[in-house]
Amino acid sequence: MNLKRTLSATLCAAMAFTACAALTGCGGEASEQVIIYSNADDEAVESMKKTLDANGYKGKYVFQSFGTSELGGKMLAEGTDIEADVITMSSYYIESAQAEYSMFEDLTFTVDTTDSYPTYYAPFLANQGAILVNTDVLAESGLTAPTSVKDLANPEYAGYLSVVDIQGSSTAWLMIQSLISEYGEDGTKDILTEIYTNAGAHIEQSGSGPIKKVRAGEVAIGFGLRHQAIADKEEGLPVDFVDPAEGNFTLTESLAVVDKGESTNPIAMEMVQCIIENGRENLMTYYPVPLYEGENADSNAVSANAKTFPEPLTVELLEKHRNLSESCK
């Protein structure tokens, strides 16, 4: 009986360790499929999948989604050791990983963008910033909707406003860009200080913080991504958006191929080319900002007042703007 017990315990342990070892073994095996890591929304991923499937790549790739911070952490920690062959991520993030590890290959096809971009990535969509409002809460509290980002500094909005902290997420950058390009750095400092006072406990670290709070009715007004508000509005929620007078600024998301030397999967580059050349039309139904020559925005879907920041959106610029934002808290 006791012998049996000892035996079974030992056996149990042995089996477990073997299983563990076996798992190690099979996890390491190489795969022919192109692995694509992405921080993009469901809609964007589905749209890219559709394009790949329609062009004969069905079953030849795997999409793996991550949150922006997790994917960012993985890229900066693993460099070229990352499992992915292709990464879709915020452009400035790709730049900063490239600066750290030179981990991406130059594109082998020509990218016909309206603005100029580095040679190792191709933008596939652009997110636009906008003011988000909860129409129910606005009405309940007798507030009028703001028309500009500057309006968010009005004391009447104190306690009703939620914004993103640029330390936590680059969604905040869209708001700060609009202020700096309109009022200069000094003007921005004054306005941003007031905005942070108004937001108080609702300065969010996550880019989706304001839309969550607006949707939950915790606040009446937020600053976030335009397409999130559109989606909520279409679902019939009391959520709407305001295109601010300063203009809607954009941040692009891009595709890049990881340089794995000898073992770089040759199909990876083909797939990126395929998404850029055949997938943009579909992507623009969700993210209607034109990025390539010959693309036309649907005037209903895209803000008439889309703007781009006068300087290139580099990591250094983000750092500078972050420091400015910190001085306003």
């Binding site: 006791n2 017990r5 000892t6 315990a9 149990c12 342990a13 477990a16 563990c20 070892a21 798992l23 190690t24 996890g27 390491g28 795969s31 692995i35 921080n39 929304d41 795997v62 793996q64 989604s65 991550f66 949150g67 922006t68 911070s69 997790e70 960012g72 952490g73 993985k74 920690a77 693993e78 050791d81 499992e83 900063s96 129910d136 330390q167 936590g168 997420s169 680059s170 950058w173 108080g200 406990a201 609702h202 300065i203 670290q205 996550s206 989706s208 839309i211 969550k212 949707r215 939950a216 009715g217 915790e218 999130q228 679902e235 019939g236 929620l237 009391p238 983000l318 750092e319 972050r322």
Partner: protein, 543 residues
């Protein structure tokens, strides 16, 4: 007289030493190196940067004070239901229900806590609507404390309840016969044997709160905290692993204090020769008060989670309240999901099995009297350190350490990470229950010619089986709900269900998040049920 033979205790120590050397020390050294090693060699600029603003002191202070307050409140609150379960004549079945309900929140991923509180106590929250007004401002200290207490209460209860089970209650009778006052009896026979467990409970609750990021992300308001700072440095808009590593080293400071505190309190440990089953004195007033207080605590905690069961079954809470199952079907028609779910089960099961073995082995060495007992300080220290490493830091450290090795993107690395991450609570629980068992068993057995291993298998294990099963389910449940560390280590082939939740959270997709949370909850309940069944069958056989 004794032959030069390697004792099993030494084998255990060597094995666990190697394991923690590779999977705790090495990653932490990597982090330490990151914090002092920049592109131009060794430098203290990252620490200098960190301290330059002065903000960091405020953040440290805020984190310590709020976590300490939560630790105290949690321990006091957890004591009440534990007392009700162990020291009153409340009906047996009711006791079981109390214990099960207090532990229930542990079976849900913590990622849902912040949201659950906002949708319960926020401006549009269920509780706010029922009461007609907002009872507390949830953004700031109050919200954080509520969140932390809800988060750590089950663990605190688990620790206290476990130790209470091993206290010999006969001494209460002795104390009363000796003419002690009720208060004195309570202090001498209940509090004193519990002192070190209460301290452990405080420390566990403190460090869990101190290192948590999910709750502050939702509820911190404009309170500056160390964990938010850590997140922003490591994974914010401008990630900086160097400064982030410096913050994580700073976060280890409280563990140094807790190691000191625990070693101070260890001398209060009391061993009982046996645990007598006694008739507790009849005291209806006591039973009612304890029962009602426990009920209130449970009600308050669980009321926060009602939204989880409401939100996914209505169209769009709180605006469109029509019932629907479309969110549920949406999730279950996702064909990749079952794969991910299976992966989660594999990881959770192996984490539980291997984790329990490791915890048991380490606790046997450190808790049972013997020539190797002084080495027990090693697992003690390990347990306190693992406890203070935020999951995010552990995850990033593993990434940096094991990049390019055969472990990268395997199940093994996920399992090892989980075991190291969750080593602390089960180890402390196992140890404290082994310490309460009669210390002379080994000696007696040796005199009778049994080897240590034989004693462990024949005598100690059957007496510790209840705790061992608790430990198993603790590991399983936590491996099922954990997000923070493994999110970085999961790959396309080893993706687990909580990583999916994190992804959905990124898009603020709470309907799906709650459906998955309920799936995880039911899995955990099923596993707990199976373990109970197994224990019951064993008990019957034993008789």
């Amino acid at each position: 007289m004794s032959k030069k033979k390697i004792s099993p205790q030494i084998v255990i120590l060597l094995f666990s030493g190697l394991l923690f050397g590779f999977f705790l020390l090495l990653p932490m050294v990597t982090i330490l190196a990151k914090s002092v090693y920049g592109s131009d060699g060794v430098t203290f600029e990252f620490y200098a940067n960190l301290f330059a603003g002065g903000n960091i002191f405020q953040a440290f202070l805020n984190s310590v004070l709020i976590s300490a307050a939560s630790g105290i409140i949690t321990t006091v609150l957890a004591f009440i239901p534990a007392y009700a379960v162990n020291y009153t004549n409340i009906h047996k079945r009711l006791k079981k229900i109390i214990a099960a309900l207090v532990m229930l929140p542990m079976l849900l991923p913590t990622i849902t806590y912040g949201f659950a509180i906002i949708y319960s106590l926020g401006k549009q929250g269920i509780i706010t609507k029922i009461l007609g007004r907002q009872i507390v401002d949830i953004y700031g200290t109050a919200g954080l404390i509520i969140g932390y207490v809800i988060y750590t209460l089950p663990i605190s209860f688990m620790l206290i309840n476990n130790t209470m089970g091993y206290i010999d209650k006969k001494f209460m009778i002795v104390s009363r016969i000796m003419g002690d006052s009720t208060l004195k009896t309570f202090v001498n026979t209940v509090i004193t044997p519990l002192i070190s467990t209460l301290a452990v409970s405080f420390i566990q609750s403190f460090t869990l709160s101190f290192t948590d990021y999910g709750i502050p992300a939702a509820l911190a308001g404009n309170i500056n905290l160390l964990s938010t700072r850590l997140y922003n440095e490591m994974l914010g808009s401008l990630p900086d692993f160097n400064t982030g590593s410096a913050v994580s080293i700073l976060m280890l400071l409280p563990s140094v204090l807790s190691i000191l505190l625990i070693s101070c309190l260890n001398r209060y440990n009391i061993r009982y020769n046996k645990i007598s089953v006694i008739e507790l004195t009849k005291n209806r007033v006591r039973d009612w008060i304890c029962g009602i207080l426990s009920g209130i605590i449970i009600l308050l905690v669980l009321s926060m989670f009602t939204v989880i069961f409401l939100v996914p079954f209505v169209e769009q809470y709180p605006y469109k309240m029509q019932l629907t199952v479309s969110h549920v079907t949406e999730i279950f028609t996702d064909h990749t999901l079952m794969n991910v779910y299976r992966n989660s089960l594999i990881v959770a099961f192996l984490t539980a099995l291997l984790g329990s073995l490791l915890v048991y082995a380490c606790a046997l060495v450190s808790a049972r009297r013997g020539e190797h007992r002084h080495y027990g300080k090693i697992p003690d220290t390990v347990s306190l350190i693992t406890n203070t490493i935020p999951g995010m830091v552990l995850g990033v450290a593993y990434l940096l350490t094991f990049r390019g090795t055969f472990l990268q993107n395997t199940f093994a690395v996920l399992i090892l990470c989980n075991i190291v991450h969750y080593f602390s609570s089960p180890y402390l629980m196992m140890k404290s229950s082994l310490e309460k068992l009669n210390a002379s068993w080994e000696t007696t057995a040796r005199l009778m010619g049994d080897s240590w291993l034989k004693t462990v298998v024949r005598i100690i294990t059957p007496n510790a089986i209840a705790t061992l099963l608790e430990v198993f389910s603790y590991f399983f449940v936590n491996a099922m709900v954990t997000v923070s560390a493994v999110i970085f280590l999961a790959s396309t082939k080893t993706m687990i269900i909580t990583a999916k939740i994190k992804e959905l959270q990124h898009f603020a997709n709470f309907n799906e998040i709650f459906v998955l949370s309920i799936l995880i909850l039911s899995t955990n309940l099923a596993v707990k049920g199976l373990i109970r069944l197994f224990a019951a069958i064993r008990m019957k056989k034993g008789k």
